[in-house]
Structure formats: C-alpha cells, structure tokens
Amino acid sequence: MNPVSEQTLVVVGAGHVAASAARALRRRGFAGPVVLIGDEPVGPYQRPHLSKERLSAGGDDGLWLLTPAWCEANDVTLCTNSTVERIAADTGSVLLADGSSIPADVVVLATGGRPRRLPGVEGERVHYIRTLADSDRLRERLSTGRRIGVLGGGFLGSEIAAAALGRGAEVVVFDRDPVLLARAMGADIGAALTGLHQRRGIDLRLGQAISEIRPSADGVTVVTESGRETVDDLVVCIGIQPNTEVAVSSGLVVGNGVEVDAQGRTSLPNVFAAGDVAAHDHPLYGRVRVEHVDVAQRQAAAIAATVAGRPSTAGDAHWFWTDQYDVNVQGLGLTGLRPTDTVVTRGSLADLDGTAFWLRDGLLVGGASIERGEDLSVARELMDLEIHVSAEQLADESVELEDLLEQEEVTV
C-alpha cells in the first residue's frame, strides 16, 4: 500500500470530470499518480462543442481539455479505448473489460451518460449525439438542400437545429411541448427562443405527439397528429440516461444515477462520483442529477480538494449556458425553482435582451438571461450573500443591480 501522500487516483471515464479533477488535484498539490481511463478513442474534449462550433464548422479550436504535454508534465496518465468493467474496492483496483487491472487507492466514477434511444429508430439516417464521432458523422449530412429533422426541442435539439440551418440545411424540429426550452428555462424565455428559431427559418412542429417514426433507405418518416413528414436524416435528442453499469457491478448504491453525498462520496469508502452520472445530495436542492459542464467541474474540483486534504462540498447554485445561433443564454439556480416563486423580468426577453429573476420571500433564488450574463454574475452574489431585493428594484432598469449589493442590511 502506498503511503498517504502517494496514493493513486483513478478516474473512470475520461470526459469533463476527469479533466477538471486532474487539473484541480495538481493545483491542490495531490502528489500521487493520476490515471484517467476512458472508452473513447481520444482524450477529454469539450462536449458542448459537439452541437456548436464543431458541428457548425469542424476544426478543433479549443476542443481539447488536456494536452499531452500537460499530462506528461503533471504525471497524469491517459488510457484511451479502455472500457472499465468494475471497481474492486476490496483489492483496491479497477478492472478493465480486456481483463487487465489498474491499482487504485481512490476512484472517481465519471462515466457520464448516453443518449436515450427510441426502439427501432436506428440506422444510417438516424443520429444520436454524445461523442465526437457522433457529431462528425452528423456534420457530413448537414448541407444545402438536405432536410434534417430534429426530434426534441431541448438544449441539444435547438442547438443542433441552429447549427444545421447555419450549414444550409432545411430544418424541422418536432416536440410534443408547444414551446422550445420552456421546461428548462421558463415560459417567457422559452417563448423568446421559440420566436428566434422561427424567425431564422426553422420549421417548428410543436405541441404534437409523435405517433410513429419509420426510418428507411431513402429517408425517415415522422408521423404526427397533423400528418407525416419525411426528412433525409433525423437527429433524436430526447435526453440521456446515466451510464451506471460500472457503479452497479461495483456494488454502489444507484438510484437515478450514482448516489453521492455533498462531498461526492458514494456508498463505498474512497470511491467518489461526479458529473452526469452522479445523483448529488446538494445542500440547496437536495438529491439531484444534473447534466451541465459547470456542475461537473465544480463537483470534480470539490472531490479533488477533499482528496488532497481539504474537505469540500459542491454547494454552489447550478449554472449553465447555451448558445443559440449567436445568442448567449444562461441559467442560474433553476434546479431549485418552485411553482410558487415570483418571476420578475428585467429588460425585454422577447427582444432577446433581458433577464428573468425568481424571488422567494424577498430573496433571489434563480435567474435566466438572454444576452445578459452580467445580470447573473450579480444575481449569484445576491444569492450567496442572501441580500433582500424587491421585484420593483429588479425590474427597474434605472436601478443598477450592482448597487443592490451595497444595501445589505435591509430589513423586510
């Protein structure tokens, strides 16, 4: 057994969590070897690029999360094309599908998720997007004159629709909800972004249940209540399911994801989990599994700090962004919203220049902005400091949000 200062840490899954954990461990002075084991043929990359920059234009500007030179200089070993089968906590090792094993004193399980698939909806003309290979395969199909269907108008579907349009394709988006992104970002932002996609020329088929999807050699036919539509290719974006197989065969407690406490610890000592696969016990929101890069990074950083000797929790308000065409959209704290929270709008969401705030008992609990990320920087501070604010102040654009930070001792 290695002395405490020379423990080996293994990350299972080489994605965002792995890259952030490796960097944070070294920043924190963790001295032992760090091994990242991933089943993809490449090292960690920016998964968000797959529906944005990479899909629109190809190229790998800013794509890679870790360079070989950095790994070399920091004693971080990256194993690609390596599938992990099980963590054997009793023998302190990680077992691979090829029969080999890697010693591990501490394990971070970060296997992410995979697209939810529709039974029978497969084949040459059907796409599910999670990996670099998926995105590159789809890009080849996005060209002038081709008709592309996108099933699901969430973040992924709407970004892919925008990228497809940008490459000259005709795009049809199908969703049973009447408004894009409303479930994730609220009705007003949903309506504003639905309007944006409509104006750019996306053919929106919203509010209709899909009764059948028939892939064939010449196209994919989508049948809704109001008729049938045949597209050249169909991209199915109906969410992900967490990759919990390794956790289950390792004996970890798994519900909707691998259950971890606020520090990211699983039910086994020295085994942590983070990112899309982890159902985290969040100090503000309770148990929740979130699929955002920033959350994955913060969870990884907290685990790294804990492992390096400074116990930490990932307790920040959840934050994410999505880029729709050239429009920047961000959300803060939306995980914890309740139907009874009061919504206040600042600026104009319909004109793609505004922020929606959510208030509860005089305190800010969340915000979502279109082209106003600066409002959310202040919102985070107002939330962290628990400063009382009123709906009138938030809505009044002559009130500088930053000035609200100074009125700390307001009694309500």
Binding site: P48, G62, D294, Q297, A301, W321, E374, V378, E402
Partner: protein, 138 residues
Amino acid sequence: MSEPTAISPAPVVDQPDTDSWVHVAELKDLARRKRKQVTVGSCPVALFLVDDEVLAVDDTCIHQERSLAKGTLLNGQVICPGHQWKFDPRTGEAEDQDGRLATYAVQVTEEGAVLVAPQPVTPREATTSDSATHPAGR
C-alpha cells in the same frame, strides 16, 4: 483640458513612452458603473475603477470575444458576461484558465482626465483549452 505633457516623464525603464498617452475618458465617467469601454488606437480597451485606481485591459475576452466592459466588477475581479470567466484587471490573468488579457498603463491627471498608453504593459495571450465555462470553484 489636460495636456499629456502635464505628466512627468517616466523615470523607470519599464514605464511606457509617455509621449503618446491617449486621452480616453474622464474619471467621472467611471464613478457610477466603475467600468467603461474605450478605444486606444483601434483597439477596444476596458477601463475599471477598483479601489480608486483606474485599470485598463483588453475589452475583448480571450474566450469568445465578448466585451468585458459589459461584464461585472465584483471584489476587484471582472466577470465576463459570455461564460462567467473571471479576470484580474491588474494582471489580465484569468482565474484557472490559460491565456491573459493585455494590460495597459493608465494615468489620471489632476483635472481627472484618464490617459492610457497605447502599447500594452503585458501582452495578450490566447487561451488554449481548459474550459468553456467559468473555472470550477477553488
């Protein structure tokens, strides 16, 4: 009006050439919002007022080119509105990210004119690839 010549010549080797200071703003322009976008030569520069000192860095974020003067100044840090990266306006460095913004020398005359030297004190460096979002908390 202030005259750039009113400023004493730089005695130290590192100091920028004072002949070409550019008058970009008045100090009172920064009083309220504590930040302002100006142009030096053809380069957009962001001014920030931190602890009564005017600091100047590139306005254009090293990540995806959003304007930092549109961002937020909190606890002496500038937060980019694009993806919430944090920058130290004294050094131009991004927290937990590679790359940096160019920093510029600033003089404020007795009359309250803000002058910026056109050549950066420290150069801009592109970011490589750590992260698309703001850095994971320390």
